[in-house]
Each structure stands twice: as structure tokens, then as C-alpha cells.
């Protein structure tokens, strides 16, 4: 069959002139459009507003408390440096543990796959358990590398904490899991705009975790809050070992007690969010 062809092919063709001029390169209106998109985004999003004030405030608190501690000069220079590096390495484990869980859920949301898993014969608790195992592998890799580099570059061995390192790490990983489950619950509840919590919520605990400074440096209110944070007992215990005062069983005990309470609380929150989602429906897209 002969296909119909354009009879005018090859003939000179005249185009109509532009009906409207192009948008000027330095026009302000398109720029205003981009800005307006952000204004609309922030107008309706509490998590995004939180982010604006959150990081400067937290940085100020963490570094401010550290400055107070260093000014006191309680620990000899070497031990203080060890405490700082040890604090940093252990804090990273807590961070990775929390991220391990929330990022696994976020990955499923980003790839629009969470619903596929909800329909499958697995429960959300299977996903959490899988995320916990992934988190442990990530911690082993990232912290293993950081510990090795700290030894090679700064001659600091985290293993100088001896066997006490094992319960310290365990307590921090459990706290990370609890915060990861809580963050995931908030993301499932409030959608993808609560995603900033996945990266930021852990740092809310940093000033009251006594990572780089002892609890005694904190103002009274912060000190009282720090008691209820498992990580503060771990970091206090770490400094006690480093200063040669031995292992503190009471600190470990408090850390474990609060860890269990955190896990129970986060699982309760997660189950409530799931129950609500079954009542109001899961969003297929979970987008902003």
C-alpha cells in the first residue's frame, strides 16, 4: 500500500513570524515563580520551618556546651582529645543505627514500592527487622573504617575502652533503632514532608546526650532531661573508663532501662500509626 505523502515536501515554506517575544533572560517574573513555589511549600510545612531554626540552634548548643567543658580544663589534654574522638566515633554508630531504619523506609517511599510490600505477606515489622540487620552491617562497615582511620591518622584506638565498648555500642544501637522506628512512624503519619525528621531528629538528642562534654556541664534543665536519654549514660560511662575510674554498672543499667522504654514507646507509636493508616488508607504515592 502506498502511504500518503506530504505534497508540499520540497516546496519553499513560509513560516508565520513570532506571535510573542521570548521571555527576557533577566526577567524577574520567572524568578518570582521559583521563589513563590518555595514560599507555598514552606507555608504549609511545619517540618520545613523547624529545619530553618533547628540546625543553628542545635549547633550552638553542642559547641557551646563543649566550649564550657574545655574552659574548665578538668581532663588532661590527651584524655580530653580521646574523649572527643571516642564520642565522635560512638555518636556515629547511634546516627547510623537510626538512619538504618528510617532510610530503608524512605527508600521504599521514594521508589513507590512501600505499597507493594504492604500488600505482600510481610508485616511492617518484617521491614523493621530487615532494616535493623541492614543497619548493623552499615555500622560495621562505616564505623570499622572510621575506627581504623582514627587509629592510623590520630593514633587513637576506640578499643582502648576495652570490653566496655561492647555494652556501650549495644546501648547506642538500640537507642538508634528506637529513634529510627519513631521517625518512620512520623513519616508514615505525615508523609514525605516529614522526611527531614529522618535526618534531623537524632540531633535533637545530641545536646542532651553529653557526647562531647559531661552532663555536669549542662544547665540544670538540660541535665534533668539528659538523665532520661540512654546515650548520655553511655557517654558518661565512656569518659569514666577513659579517665581510669573503671566501668560504671549503674550507668549501663540506666542506659538499658531507658533503651527498653524507648523501644517500647516507639513500637507503640508505630503500631498506632499503622492502625490509623488502615483506617484512613495508605497513600499510594506518599509524596509532598
Amino acid at each position: 500500500m502506498k502511504m500518503p505523502t506530504n505534497d508540499l515536501e520540497g516546496a519553499p515554506v513560509e513560516c508565520l513570524p513570532l506571535t510573542r517575544p521570548p521571555v527576557p533572560l533577566f526577567s524577574l517574573r520567572p524568578l518570582a515563580g521559583i521563589l513563590l513555589r518555595q514560599v507555598y511549600l514552606y507555608r504549609r510545612s511545619i517540618p520545613r520551618w523547624m529545619e530553618i531554626f533547628y540546625w543553628p540552634l542545635l549547633d550552638l548548643l553542642v559547641w557551646g556546651f563543649l566550649t564550657l567543658y574545655l574552659r574548665q580544663g578538668v581532663l588532661p589534654g590527651t584524655t580530653a582529645a580521646q574523649a572527643l574522638l571516642g564520642g565522635l566515633l560512638l555518636w556515629d554508630m547511634l546516627y547510623r543505627s537510626q538512619q538504618g531504619i528510617s532510610v530503608v523506609f524512605l527508600e521504599e517511599i521514594w521508589s513507590r514500592n512501600l505499597y507493594n510490600l504492604m500488600v505482600a505477606p510481610v508485616t511492617p515489622y518484617h521491614i523493621i527487622a530487615g532494616a535493623m540487620m541492614t543497619g548493623i552491617l552499615k555500622i560495621a562497615l562505616s564505623s570499622g573504617t572510621a575506627i581504623l582511620l582514627a587509629y592510623l591518622l590520630f593514633s587513637y584506638s576506640l578499643f582502648s575502652l576495652g570490653l566496655s565498648l561492647i555494652p556501650f555500642v549495644l546501648c547506642l544501637v538500640i537507642m538508634g533503632w528506637a529513634l529510627g522506628i519513631m521517625t518512620t512512624a512520623l513519616i508514615l503519619r505525615f508523609g514525605q514532608e516529614a522526611e527531614v525528621l529522618a535526618w534531623g531528629v537524632i540531633f535533637l538528642f545530641q545536646p542532651v546526650s553529653a557526647v562531647f562534654n559531661p552532663v555536669s556541664v549542662l544547665p540544670d534543665g538540660f541535665r534533668q532531661i539528659a538523665f532520661f536519654v540512654p546515650a548520655s549514660h553511655v557517654f558518661e560511662g565512656m569518659r569514666q573508663v577513659l579517665s581510669g575510674r573503671g566501668f560504671s554498672w549503674p550507668q549501663l543499667g540506666w542506659a538499658l532501662v531507658f533503651d527498653l522504654l524507648y523501644v517500647a514507646g516507639s513500637l507503640f507509636l508505630f503500631s498506632r500509626v499503622l492502625k490509623r493508616a488502615r483506617k484512613v488508607g495508605f497513600s499510594l504515592k506518599l509524596g509532598s
Binding site: 521508589s111 514500592n113 505477606p121 488502615r278 488508607g281 499510594l284
Partner: protein, 257 residues
Amino acid sequence: MSDGHVLVARQLTKRFSPDRPPAVDGISLEVSRGEVLSIVGPNGAGKSTLLQMLLGILTPDSGTVRIFGVDIIRHRRRVAHLINYASTDLSLPYSLSVRENLEVFALVYNLPQPGQAVSEMMERFSLEPLAKTKVGRLSTGQIARLSLAKALISRPEILFLDEPTATLDPEASAEVRQLLLEQVRKERLGLVYTSHNMREVERLSDRILLIESGKSVACGTRDALYGLFDCDNLEAVFIRSVNQARQDRRRDENADK
């Protein structure tokens, strides 16, 4: 439950807000082994809400959904391995390859021989040349084929599909339709299907459920619906039934006032 019915839903009702009418209002349906039931209705008619309740992931305010006699709302884990789902609104992890995605779901569905199941699906859906391609690099049609492979890898007894061909060109749609029909006939699975493509619904369905504003307008075979609404094609049936349902509703509302 009647003999041969793999799914029986009765008087399903779901209201999301007390100020608004129910999203689904007293819908009943049943699906037999090897039967294709299409759910058809305008946007916002309640199709997706109904599907979510049939899948057991949304709790109805009232009514029951039984899959092989098991109440899926209360005992989802007992029958979750017998159902599967695919939708154009969903995707699969972009950074995983076609084969990797199927491997993951073969394990998630606890298949005894995951490797074999993956190979079977790859062959059946002509995905072998794409085995190592990441999902993020696939065309929409290829993603639709992969989604179907994922939905069928667990050998479901009931498959739920939410507008599986909505984003496909006519050629890819025809291909997906053909694959679906082959599966339904070969595996004798029950298929619950939503679509806005009336020609497709006509070709695929054994029975069609028409819904509007959450209510069942009519349910029957294609020819029965043609007769009921005095039309010779489903598009005309759709328009006439929806208009009629809307007129009835307005009349009822005015009568209430």
C-alpha cells in the same frame, strides 16, 4: 461462600469524613476462579478505596471481605500469599535491575524455588534481554510488564490490577492485555481489574461492576449491561449509567429537602 468463589465481599462501606458521603457505600461483589471482574466508574467513584478494602489494607466501616472463606481484614496474613497487586501508581525500586527486583519479591513471597520462579517470569514476560537493566532506565511499557511479572511471580489465586495499562501506548496495552488473558486462562486465577479504557474492559471482562459515588450502579456481563441500558457499547453504557445514577441521586437529595 458459594462454590467456586475465590473472593466474596458483602456490603462494604467506607466513610472518610462524617461531613462527606461514603467513599464506598454498601458494595457487594464476588469473583470466581478464572473470572475477570472489571470495576468501572468515573474518577473519584471509589474504585481505589474498594480495591484497598479487597486487599485487606483498609479497614471498612462495615461489611466483610472473604478470600477462600477467610476474613482478610482480620486475618490478612493467612491469605496474603494468595493475592497480588499491581498499579500504574506504583513502581519498583529504580536502582535495582529487573532480575534483582524479581529476586527480592520471590523471597518476600517465600517461594520455595525463587531462582526458578524468577527465570520463569523473565521468560514469560520476555524480560531476559532486560535482566540487568535498572528499573530507572526502563520504558513505561517495560515497567508495566515487570510489574505484572512481579504480581504474578507468587502464583496468586486472585490478582488485583489498578489501571495497569493507563500509561501505555496502544501497542503496549494490547501486549499487556494479551499476557493477562493468557495468565487468567492458564492459571485460572481470579482477576479484579479497574480501567478507564472501555474497549479494554469489553475485551477482557467476564463481568463488569459499574460504580458511581461509591455505590454499585449495575453488575453483569457485557451483553447484560448492553441490554440493561439499551446500548451497543460499554462507553455508552458508562455514560448513560453514570448520568442516570447522578440524576437518581439528585432526585433523592431534593426529595430529602
